[in-house]
Symmetry: C2
Subunit: 154 residues, 2 copies
DNA sequence: CATAACCTTGACGTAGGGGTAAAGCGTGGC
DNA sequence: GCCACGCTTTACCCCTACGTCAAGGTTATG
C-alpha cells in the first residue's frame, strides 16, 4: 500500500461513491462502457478516480437524458477519442484526422445539448401545470374544511 | 356508426395518436395502468378520448420523470380517485373521507413537483456545462484550421 | 491460522416492452 | 352471399438493464 501515488479503489468503494451497484459496474464493463480495470493478484478489480467520473457521467446521460447504454457507449467513445486527441501534444500530426475527431465530439455534445434543451422545456411546462393543480387542490382543501366546520361529524 | 355521440377509437388509432405501439397499450392494460376498454362483439378494443389522455400522461411520467410503471400506477390511481371525488356532487357525504383522498392526491402531485424541480435543476447545470464545452471545442476547431492554413497538407 | 469482510463468476429472475406468427374480425366490392 | 383485404386478437420468444442469489476464492485482522 502507498506503493504508487495513485489511490486505487475496489469495486465496493466505487459502487458506494457512484451510487450504482457492483453488479452494474461489472455490467457496464461487460458492455464496453467501462474499460476493463486492472486487477489485483487475486483477481479483484482496481479502479481509478477517472473510472468514478466515467460512471457518474454515464449515469447522468441515462437518468437525465434517458439514453440507452448503446447510445451512451458511442458518446463516451467519442469523448474518449477527444481526450486522446488532447493528450497528443505533437502539434503537427495529421490535422485533418484531428478535425474529424473534433467534429465528431462536437456532434455528440450538440446532440446532448438538443436533448437537454427539449426536455428542460417540457419540464418547465409540466412544472407550471403541477403548480396550478397544487393551488387548485389547496383551494378545495380549504373548502372541505369550511364545510366540515359548518356541519361537524354526524 | 354514428350510433352514440361518443367517437370510439380502435387500438390502432390510439397507438397512432399517442405515439406508443399497440403492444404497449395492451401491456399497460395488462399491468393495470389502463382500465380494460369496452369491446366490440368480435372482441376488438374500443377506447375513448379519456384513454388517449391517460396514455399521454403515463408517457410523460415515464419519459420526463423516469418513474417505473408501478409508481405511475399508484399515481394514476390516486388521480382517478380524485376524479371520482369531483364527480360525487353530494356535498355532504363523508367529508373526512374526501379529505383523505384529496390529501393523497396532493401528496402525489407534490412528489411529482419535487422530482421535476430536482431534475430541472440538474438539467440546467448540465446545459451550462455543455454550452461551455461547445465553446471550447469551437475555439479548438478554429485553432486547428489556423494550423492547417499555416502548414498545408504534407 | 481462523474468521470476517470483501471479491469472483455464473445462473436465473424481472421490468418494459419489440417482433412476429397464426388466427379471427369487419367491411367494401361484385 | 361471398371473397379479399386490412385491422385486431392472443401467444410466444427476444432484448435491455440490471437484481438476486449461490458457491466459492481473497484479503485483512486478531
Amino acid at each position: 500500500m502507498a506503493d504508487s501515488e495513485e489511490a486505487y479503489l475496489q469495486i465496493g468503494e466505487v459502487a458506494e461513491r457512484t451510487g450504482v451497484t457492483q453488479r452494474t459496474l461489472r455490467f457496464y464493463e461487460e458492455k464496453g462502457l467501462l474499460r476493463p480495470p486492472t486487477r489485483m493478484d487475486g483477481g479483484f478489480r482496481l479502479y481509478c478516480e477517472d473510472d468514478v467520473r466515467r460512471v457518474k457521467h454515464v449515469r447522468r446521460l441515462q437518468d437525465l437524458l434517458g439514453l440507452t447504454l448503446a447510445e451512451i457507449k458511442d458518446m463516451v467513445e467519442a469523448e474518449e477519442m477527444l481526450r486522446e486527441l488532447k493528450a497528443q501534444y505533437r502539434p503537427d500530426a495529421d490535422v485533418s484526422e484531428k478535425k474529424r475527431q473534433l467534429r465528431k465530439a462536437i456532434d455528440v455534445v450538440t446532440h446532448q445539448h438538443n436533448i437537454v434543451s427539449q426536455k428542460a422545456e417540457q419540464m418547465s411546462e409540466m412544472k407550471t401545470q403541477l403548480d396550478e393543480r397544487l393551488r387548485t387542490f389547496s383551494r378545495w382543501m380549504t373548502e372541505l374544511e369550511r364545510v366540515e366546520r359548518k356541519a361537524p361529524v354526524a
